[in-house]
């Protein structure tokens, strides 16, 4: 039985929203930890705001709140239904998509998604403070892992699987680029060979946000260096959150669809463009081009992949 274009779209966005909920939790965790480490007056607030800029929710936040402190920011990022990217909104959107395609996902996936939503929607925001906040952020990540586990363990390897995987990795590529962009200036090469304590602290947090602080040691056998960190999160093919890994993964799933459907669609070229951008380059070239400019361009290309997919496979 062939798949409805709408079903493909719902599957794609189901995965995207689960990944986004997880990434919002990751971003908030970095912002929160950075704000705790800031000793400067107003520094905590700056960290939180730059985190929200990376998540592109800073303007919406400013419309509702005058002060960016841990409480207001955490509430906006976690629970505010007016924030379309809050964990609350993401989980609700993911579940709505799952509900629309119940016939195309497995019972295990549905139950994982449905339970996550039912539990999360019953949390009272005022109960979530301090240590409880970190606990809840961890819970969000775990629920995302659980959903992915149910997906990988139970779903048929047909076209639906490819759409789910592409949604997941398009979103992840977007998020990794945003995490890097948030503090791109601490990653820039500079005159001093060794970063100061503050830099090291921020690098650690960036790596943590990508669950990469320990893997870094395995790959580089070296202390933290800005150049390596950027390389790790952008260009290392074995790093499952790196830009190149995500871009290739999306492309591979498109290839699977090509084989399955016996037809190559226009979206392939767009995906190829994104892969080329990160596969045939090195950090020196990227720094020369401008890190921020490069990341901005990558995010834009990644968005074009979604548009092209919608076009090629009749999302509507």
């Amino acid at each position: 039985m062939r798949m409805l274009g709408r079903t493909a779209q719902n599957l794609f966005w189901l995965s995207r929203y689960v990944e986004r909920a997880e990434n919002m939790a990751r971003l908030l965790e970095v912002g929160y930890r950075m704000s705790l480490t800031s000793r400067r007056e107003g520094g905590a607030s700056e960290h939180l705001v730059s985190m929200m800029q990376a998540a592109e929710v800073d303007e919406g936040f400013a419309e509702k709140h005058d002060v960016a402190d841990v409480d207001t920011v955490a509430h906006y990022m976690m629970f505010d239904p007016d924030n379309p990217n809050s964990v609350y909104s993401c989980l609700m959107a993911a579940r709505t998509n799952a509900r629309s395609v119940r016939t195309a996902i497995t019972t295990d996936m549905w139950e994982s998604m449905n339970e996550a939503w039912l539990e999360y929607s019953q949390i009272r925001p005022r109960d979530v403070r301090g240590a409880k906040l970190l606990e809840l952020l961890q819970w969000v990540k775990q629920r995302s892992h659980e959903f992915r586990g149910a997906l990988l363990g139970t779903i048929l390897r047909d076209d639906g699987f490819s759409f789910l995987q592409m949604g997941n990795f398009v979103e992840r590529a977007d998020n990794t680029a945003r995490i890097l962009d948030m503090k791109y200036y601490v990653l820039l090469p500079r005159a001093t060979l060794v970063g100061g304590d503050l830099d090291i602290q921020q690098w650690t947090l960036i790596l943590r946000a990508a669950s990469a602080h320990r893997a870094y040691r395995h790959v580089y056998h070296d202390r933290y260096k800005a150049h390596n960190i950027a390389d790790f999160l952008m260009l290392r093919p074995e790093m499952p959150r790196s830009l190149v890994y995500c871009a290739r993964f999306v492309q591979q799933n498109m290839d699977t669809l090509t084989t399955l459907y016996g037809r190559k669609e226009a979206c392939h070229e767009v995906a190829q463009g994104m892969v080329d951008m990160v596969a045939n380059t090195d950090m020196d070239a990227i720094f020369a081009h401008g890190l921020h400019e490069f990341l901005t361009e990558f995010i834009a290309r990644n968005n074009r992949v979604t548009d092209a997919l919608s076009e090629s496979y009749n999302f509507y």
Binding site: M3, L4, R99, T103, W110, E111, R263, Y313, N314, Y316
Partner: protein, 473 residues
């Protein structure tokens, strides 16, 4: 009737247990304190986790409720069921014959057995269906017959549901839940399976595919979408049948044929099991403001390129005013006496009957002819005096808009209520499939009025459901 003591499904008047309930009685007596309460909580958790919920109209958007499930099953003996299913089969055959006639030569009107005015001036009559030849001559493929029991041998048909009857997923999930909750009870009883309903539904739908369709027919379930109160059921049935679950905009008509929009382009659809009302089915033929339907699908149907299940216009046969003529209809087409009884119904357009009704309104049930779901009705004995007066005025203003029936003493079945077991009123909706043959699932959905003394079993009005067992010999 007139006797106000309701029939008890489980106990004889002398307090002894009726035969079909023996195993259950033994099992109940062995349950430790609070066991039923725990089971009840487990059931609720199972239903919520599976997302077996319905949306409540008029409450916040997205509010999803679980229909209360009662852990004590309702049990029907094998020989009782055989009688019932014969009556049901007779009824659905006659109603389909009636529909064919009404939309063709209208012999029954010419013969004066059913008043012409009642049919042709009826809002449920669909003139667009005149002369159309549905596959296998079947109009109502999926039917729910609402029955109530008033005595050891007395079942009455309360109404026929020939449009898009819902609730069958509860029949299936109630059984599933019951087997999880009380596997030991099943070991002691021989219960006829209900699990093959989806397979039978698929066979029924395939059997009525257009004659010109090739290969295995492609089946789509057409749903109004995730905010519809029965969305769970739509997705459940599509899933169980391996059919495509579509919303209106997933389908389109081109050159008189129906297609769905897939990732690789259009794919032809042969059978549409639509869970959208007639009015919303096709904005080009019916309500032009409908956003839910598929423009042009009715013309594709008329051209014989797709089968709509159920056919549009079946409402003329389950209209409450037509209901009173069903025994007549059975005799006319089948030459048989009706095996199932109708509830006696008073006709308010007749002056004598109307006067009697107005005098005795406190003892009667008044239903709006086109109402459903327990809305627009009044149960005399439990209604206030103001309501009696209000309905008297309504009847006087539009006597043809209401039917009036005696208040039936619906049978009761033991039900778990806050840790206790107490009798509550129940009805029964068996599900019937009509295609190349008539297939009736043993049992059906038992709805139970959870409020003490209440006779309204609708889920929208505080009703719950029970697993329904038909015992095998």
């Amino acid at each position: 009737m007139g006797d106000t003591t309701p029939f008890d499904e489980m106990y004889n008047p002398d307090g002894s247990v009726r035969e079909p309930y023996r195993a259950l009685a033994g099992w109940l007596s062995e349950q430790p304190d609070k066991a039923l309460g725990l089971m009840q909580a487990d059931a609720e958790a199972i239903f919520r986790r599976l997302g077996i919920t319905f949306a409540v109209y008029g409450s916040d958007e997205g509010t999803e409720k679980v229909i209360p499930f009662d852990v004590i099953p309702r049990i029907i003996a094998a020989q009782e069921w055989r009688k019932l299913s014969k009556g049901i089969e007779q009824r659905v055959k006659a109603l389909n014959a009636f529909l064919y006639d009404v939309y063709h030569r209208q012999e029954i009107l010419r013969a004066g057995r059913v008043p012409e005015k009642l049919i042709l001036n009826n809002a449920a009559f669909c003139p667009q269906m005149m002369g159309l030849e549905p596959a296998k001559g079947v109009y109502a493929h999926i039917i729910g017959v609402d029955l109530v029991r008033v005595g050891a041998d007395g079942y009455y048909v309360l109404e026929d549901n020939l449009r898009t009857p819902s609730g069958v997923s509860y029949m299936l999930e109630d059984r599933e839940a019951m087997m999880i909750l009380a596997p030991d009870l099943f070991q002691r009883s021989k219960v006829a399976p209900v699990e093959n309903y989806p397979e039978n539904l698929r066979r029924t739908l395939e059997s009525v595919a257009p004659v010109n369709s090739r290969g295995t027919p492609v089946i789509a379930v057409l749903t109004p979408g995730i905010y519809n109160s029965a969305y769970f059921e739509h997705s459940f049935l599509a899933d169980q049948m391996g059919a495509q679950l579509c919303e209106g905009h997933d389908l389109f008509v081109d050159g008189g044929k129906v297609y769905m929009r897939t990732t690789t382009g259009p794919e032809r659809v042969d059978v549409v099991y639509r869970r959208i009302d007639d009015d919303y089915l096709d904005p080009l033929t019916f309500r032009p403001d409908s956003m839910l339907g598929v423009p042009g699908i009715f013309d594709a149907y008329r051209a014989g390129n797709v089968t709509l299940v159920n056919a549009p216009g079946t409402g003329i046969a389950d209209d409450k005013a037509v209901y009173t003529y069903v025994p007549e209809i059975i005799e006319f087409y089948l030459g048989e006496k009706s095996l199932l009884q109708n509830v006696p119904t008073y006709n308010c357009t007749d002056q004598d009957e109307r006067e009697w009704v107005l005098e005795n309104i406190a003892d009667l049930v008044v239903k709006e002819v086109h109402g459903s779901g327990g809305y627009g009705m009044m149960v005399g004995p439990t209604a206030t005096e103001e309501m009696h007066e209000e309905f008297k005025r309504k009847i006087l203003a539009r006597p043809d808009n209401y039917i009036v029936q005696p208040t039936l003493a619906l049978s009761t079945c033991p039900t778990h209520i806050n840790g206790d077991v107490a009798p509550r009123h129940v009805d029964l909706r068996p599900y019937v499939l009509v295609g190349d043959e008539v297939r009736i699932t043993p049992g059906g959905l038992t709805r139970v009025a959870l409020k003490q003394g209440s006779l309204v079993v609708n889920s929208s009005q505080g009703g719950g459901t029970k697993d329904t067992w038909v015992l095998e010999d």
